[in-house]
Symmetry: C2
Subunit: 107 residues, 2 copies
Amino acid sequence: MDAQLKALAEPRRRKILELVRDQELPAGEIARRFAVTRPAISQHLTVLREAGLLIERREGTKRLYRADPAGLLGLKRFVDRFWMTGLERLKLEAETEAARGERKDQA
Amino acid sequence: MDAQLKALAEPRRRKILELVRDQELPAGEIARRFAVTRPAISQHLTVLREAGLLIERREGTKRLYRADPAGLLGLKRFVDRFWMTGLERLKLEAETEAARGERKDQA
DNA sequence: GGCTTATGTTAGATGTCGCTAACGTAAGCG
DNA sequence: CGCTTACGTTAGCGACATCTAACATAAGCC
């Protein structure tokens, strides 16, 4: 979850993520919509991808990107935990603990 | 929401926030639980407070801190938006727009 | 193989972050 | 007022992040 929050802490990366939330776009098309150089966007895409927030799909020379909602799962749990108290939170923690055996990492 | 994400991107600040999620604690007591100097914690507390994630209450020379769940509202909306599609998202955006007039800032 | 298109990677400059050490402030007590 | 306790604030340093410019890779076309 650390990588995900660090990735989202950058405003431009949030914009990129929102841009590919509903549509799949090539890197160049994404870069074209911002006022920075293409390499800068490429680096942002790398950060987002390594944080598990982006899905990359290659097609010829193009690389198409799309947001991966599953990547925000850990963050969602963290945030949701602040709207709960007592028993409700205990219940969630039990479920999280139970699901831990099924996942490799990505805490 | 930018300040909130930047604040949460630091692991130690998340630990602090979880520490005062259910209980109200004085700054010194919080600092005592970490392996860094007191000023460092004080700075973290300032960042969290300015991000609207902490509530400060003074009592004599002591300053008591407690997590403010409302501070995570913007982030919660952002995250939730990635689990929705189409009409459901449109509905939320309409509600957000309607509520905008009632709040001062804290986007 | 050459040329173009699409993209990633690296080097280096600048900015920002988190830490410690030293100093400042403010409340309570005698 | 002087002393103590509890915190915040500032200066300065080392580490890391973001940007641009230049170079590298890889697919498709002729």
